[in-house]
Subunit: 332 residues, 2 copies
């Protein structure tokens, strides 16, 4: 085999959202790594909400967009199949930004080896962006204290499920907002959340009030949507709102308005947005904060794995529709 | 003279807003101070936006409301006319929470003496809530850096005018939003702001863009209103939004929605609300931060003084209509 498949971004998203019209598939020859380079055969691609931002030509976003004609950007994991690099051996498992491609040549920069004790799935579901994002947002922005109440939206997502489990481990009351009864059951029965709200079917105000008798100290926002206003109104004095994602609005031409700021003064709230590219230099510190939770068996995960590079577009659509059950991965 | 006048809050604000229907005037006998007490003849009452909150029965606000039948709460300054307290002498000028009254008996708690070198007006316009609020919000929440751009709404107000002048002294570019051409002229020509926007008559988006070529790093919000969204959209990465007041919405039955939170993530913004009762224990520190600006002649002020306790209701109406030119004071 001398050819491989890769998928290029060749259009910008419009009102059709995510679809095949955005991408072009091509077959190219497998390159040989030069001195100081390695050839990686990707085994698992990660699909993440941030990828929508990378496709858009918005120059104000925190990472430059993928240029038209470039391989679609994504993180993933793979195996070193050729090495001309002193630090990598054939057979090493590595993770990093690989893109929608079966093979990638790299000088090693930005690639991390996966330790033998960790499965590739676990590396991508916890020790990659999901866990780092949860750690930065929950611990360093949210500043949790035992006994407080945390509400997380997108609670069954890769980030949200880790946030909730860290908070449970730290002695907080944790309520998760999800989009299906199956996800509600999973976060309560498997992950140990204190309660779940299905935003598609529950009476939001009543259920939120019933599940947060001491109101809310930390609001970890992954989604946006109408429940945002209700959670905001139930914040306690000196509450913290961590804005990690607004997936409900990313595809909307007219994003929904947010809450009025009077409550910011009455309750002396802090709302803080964050994005991981600001914190890539802190990854060792973040891993140091995250690892004890994992080592103590506090963090469960589930992967929603689909097969084949050609399924990546479908996988992204599932992610944005909330149809996935677990961290969205594409196995190659 | 053995009687004096005081004004009680005897109704809660409704859709009529501020008006005579809220208050009852009464004449009572001047009390004698007991051992450890002083009698103060109030000379200047301060009228502040926070007073609207104190009139409302909203239990979620940060200070308990004034009870019906109590003297309306306000800060002010006066002269000690009788003293049975070892730390106060007849003739001392003092400031603190005195209420809508010509005379007040106090045990001295919460009262501060006004130094001889400072006029009573200056004490109320700078070294009381306006200056302390500006200092906490601008320095400690806003965390300014020389070269940054700050936009302040309510820029001709007691707090806003101090914020802008501190920022100019620190080497920031400062743009103020005001409600009249007279105020615009005052903040630019007298206080040295780099520009002013009249939110009632200017083309807000165009003028804001023209006056903030490097966009905006700190947004000091005193008012709310439609310009909030425009300023929010022009924030730079890692910008800070200090929410100090929302006077445009306090009297509204349906406060205007705020901006969508997508920008919080894209720009990694922080929005923080604050209120001075959280910081009363830090007054010495705040005065230590504020005083150097004043001593270096960087902080000008103007008082809008009206005469007589019976004019207090009119004064509050002027304040909420933005008809005052300077810190609203009532001279008794």
């Amino acid at each position: 085999m001398t050819d491989y498949t890769r998928i290029l971004l060749t259009a910008r998203p419009d009102k059709r959202g995510i679809g095949d019209y955005l991408f072009t598939r091509e077959r190219v020859a497998i390159p040989s790594p030069a001195e100081g380079e390695i050839l990686v055969k990707q085994t698992h691609m990660s699909l993440d909400p941030a990828m929508l931002g990378w496709m858009s030509p918005d120059t104000e976003s925190y990472i430059p967009p993928v240029q038209l004609g470039e391989v679609m950007r994504s993180s993933g994991a793979g195996e070193v199949v050729e090495s001309n690099h002193p630090n990598f051996n054939v057979g090493d498992r590595v993770m990093g930004m690989m893109g929608w491609t079966e093979y990638a040549v790299s000088n090693g920069k930005g690639l991390n080896k996966i330790q033998d004790s960790i499965s590739t799935e676990m590396a991508l579901c916890i020790f990659a962006l999901p866990g780092l994002t949860a750690t930065q947002g929950y611990l360093n922005v949210g500043k949790p204290k035992a006994g407080e109440t945390l509400v997380v939206t997108g609670a069954a997502s890769s980030v949200g499920s880790i946030v909730g489990q860290m908070a449970k481990a730290d002695g907080l009351r944790v309520i998760g907002v999800v989009g299906s009864d199956e996800k509600a059951k999973w976060i309560v029965e498997e992950l140990g959340f204190d309660g779940a709200i299905n935003y598609k079917s529950d009476d939001l105000a009543d259920k939120l009030a019933a599940l947060t008798p001491d109101k809310i100290d930390i609001f970890f926002e992954n989604t946006g949507g109408p429940i945002q206003q209700l959670i905001y109104q139930r914040m306690n004095t000196h509450g913290r709102i961590v804005v990690c994602g607004m997936i409900a609005d990313y595809l909307s031409a007219t994003p929904a308005p947010g809450p009025n700021w009077i409550n910011m003064i009455k309750k002396r709230l802090t709302i803080q947005g964050f994005a991981m590219p600001d914190h890539f230099h802190e990854v060792p510190k973040l891993l140091g904060q995250l690892t004890p939770y994992v080592m103590q068996g506090k963090i469960k995960y589930r992967a929603h794995t689909i097969e084949g590079l050609d399924q990546a577009v479908n996988g992204l659509q599932m992610l944005f529709n909330g149809d996935n059950q677990g961290k969205m991965l594409v196995k190659l």
